[in-house]
Symmetry: C2
Subunit: 375 residues, 2 copies
């Protein structure tokens, strides 16, 4: 269980296979985000129909509502949300550090204010681990201290040290819980802001802590320039072990391509569903805003290359009508397409890696999507 | 084409089969309402999955947005909304008489204010017929003058006379348009408020105008007491010809049962989708409000007798979570179930009619749904 096999490589890009309790997934893989135990506007059948193999849910959100005890009574997270394929839960670290409201951090954990009822709650490494164990996803994430993209070295160092101490506590609690079976694995999160030295040191210390089945890179795509993220990934890549690498919170199509080129295997982002609800669709020729008047009587599909229900059933003119008329179906149809777009993008990247032609494929992809050949 | 065959009867209740250009439907039948060319929160695949055979769309709404010319450019209504089974369009009469804003009626037609842009527009019998012809539904409705439920006899008489004059004009225009093929039929709408004598006279005059393939009863379920509607149906029934009878804007489960018992064949209503979006679900034991705290950790399905995706996949606890967390999926899942509920109710009524046991079936159904045996 939790084995990762790299099946092909093309430069730093890799195509692999990760075995999890609820199924085997092929990487690179894009995870749709089901923040509150549902990928917004999409059903489990929708997700299966677009080829989703792994879905993310948020520990923070499910803890504050409906509460992990309710999810447990309803058969744990897979059964709760009607999703029988692999699941990953984020630890809540990112949420408690990024949501508005009161927050107090000490070495024990974080006291914060629930965005639902305003009540004070505390998450510690142990609690975050226990909640995720109760939810029962295939992959749990360690509880981490996230700092903003522009954090200086002192702040990033402080957060890194705390994240390292918390990681040991998460690991210990998870080992105790997981003693009798092998239902869930725990992945560490590498922090360190935009400071390569901190990231390198953090990586070394994570690996010294023992065997892991995967590794996440956190604290990128949190406000820093894109070039900083790309550069950091490029410099970290040679130092990373042969584990699955998960770049948290990324991303947009061009970010996926650039990150796979730099050796990343897993991604999650709310962009496809959030943008879809705003009427913005990914296409091979770049984003399309379906609300634009030019689509009014356009009989063409949103994306002629796409095999999703939206593109095989409806015209741009109809999709525009749904958005202009504020019909719920529009939110769903564009979310569905955007998720399918990123899953097909990952499929195309796997195929390019397998024929050891990732570089030329990426250049051609960029020429069309970004109207330029460079990252 | 447009043939109606009554296959079984039980008292006044009938089970029949109506042949339309886009398919054959079995009656009694419930039509989900796709006001703006989409049944709110549901896709065509959803509608097929719950057994919908006939869907209604609104001429008024599609005329003001996106405009029938746009729908025509996008391949007419069936293709526009991705629905290949039969469609019926309402004429716009009900909307121009019930929506807020400026309205001026004369014998030519109705000048009204668009709810979208506030602009003045005019619908006449000819225009309403032409728009519906352009939209291309299987069944078009005559343009009628609708009065409120409590209208006195003078007002109801005036509206009836106008509706009769308009019916002749609709019929003439539709015959001209339909001269070369047989793609669409036009049904008249019987008005007359709560005045039996006006209804009886209206019915006689409609039938004198010539052969029809179906007949609608309008102006009921518009604010009058339910007993008035039931009584009117009961008194009209012996006078109605062997055509399909469509009771417009009805209804709730108990109304469907009472109306089928009184010889009605077709129904439409926004109740299943509107109530679904409000968290109210039809069940054999009466309505359930899924927001109630009692459902918080309830692992049972919404309706244990139901075969829809909602009831076979999700717990009441999860559905409640979706509503409390304001997730879009909740709106869809309850809408889906409620439409399936009414379609299954129609199926159960057909079966009871075929075994000539509608009366006992209805008594038993009411005992459970209304917790009483009487209508």
């Amino acid at each position: 269980m939790f084995e990762f096999e790299i099946q092909a490589a093309s430069g730093a890009a890799r195509a692999g296979r990760l075995t999890l309790p609820h199924g085997t997934i092929e990487t690179p893989v894009f995870m749709p985000v089901g923040t509150q135990g549902t990928v917004r506007a999409l059903s489990p059948n929708d997700l299966r129909s677009v080829g989703a193999t792994l879905v993310l849910a948020n520990t923070y959100h499910l803890h504050v509502r409906p509460g992990e005890q309710v999810v447990e009574k309803l058969g744990a997270l897979h059964r709760f949300m009607g999703w029988d394929r692999p699941l990953l839960t984020d630890s809540g670290g990112f949420q408690v550090f990024s949501l508005e409201g009161f927050r107090r951090v000490d070495d024990d954990g974080v006291e914060f204010q629930s965005h639902v009822d305003g009540g004070r709650r505390t998450l510690t490494p142990e609690r975050a681990t226990e909640i995720q164990w109760t939810l029962g996803a295939d992959i749990a994430m360690a509880f981490d201290h996230v700092v903003p993209g522009g954090a200086d070295e002192a702040i990033a160092r402080d957060a890194l040290e705390r994240t390292m101490r918390w990681l040991e506590r998460c690991r210990k609690r998870h080992k105790d819980l997981n003693a009798s079976d092998d239902h869930q694995t725990l992945w560490p999160i590498l922090q360190g802001g935009a400071h390569l030295q901190l990231r390198t040191e953090g990586l070394r210390r994570i690996l010294e802590l023992g065997d892991w089945t995967g590794l996440a890179i956190g604290g990128l795509s949190v406000g820093e320039p894109k070039a900083v993220m790309y550069d950091m990934l490029e410099r970290l890549e040679p130092k990373l072990p042969a584990l699955p690498r998960y770049l948290m919170g990324v991303g947009f199509p061009q970010d996926l391509v650039a990150a796979v080129e730099r050796g990343v295997d897993l991604f999650d982002c709310v962009a496809p569903t959030r943008n879809g609800r705003n009427g913005s669709a990914f296409t091979p020729d770049g984003p399309v805003n379906i609300r634009n008047a030019e689509h009014r009587a356009d009989p063409r599909p949103l994306d002629a290359t796409c095999d999703c229900e939206t593109c095989t059933t409806f015209s741009r003119g109809y999709l525009r009508h749904l958005f202009v008329a504020e019909e719920l179906l529009g939110l769903r149809l564009l979310s569905l397409h955007n998720v399918r777009y990123l899953i097909r993008l990952a499929e195309a990247m796997r195929a390019a890696i397998r024929r050891n032609a990732f570089g030329p494929w990426a250049a051609e992809w960029r020429r069309r999507y970004l109207h330029t050949g460079s990252a």
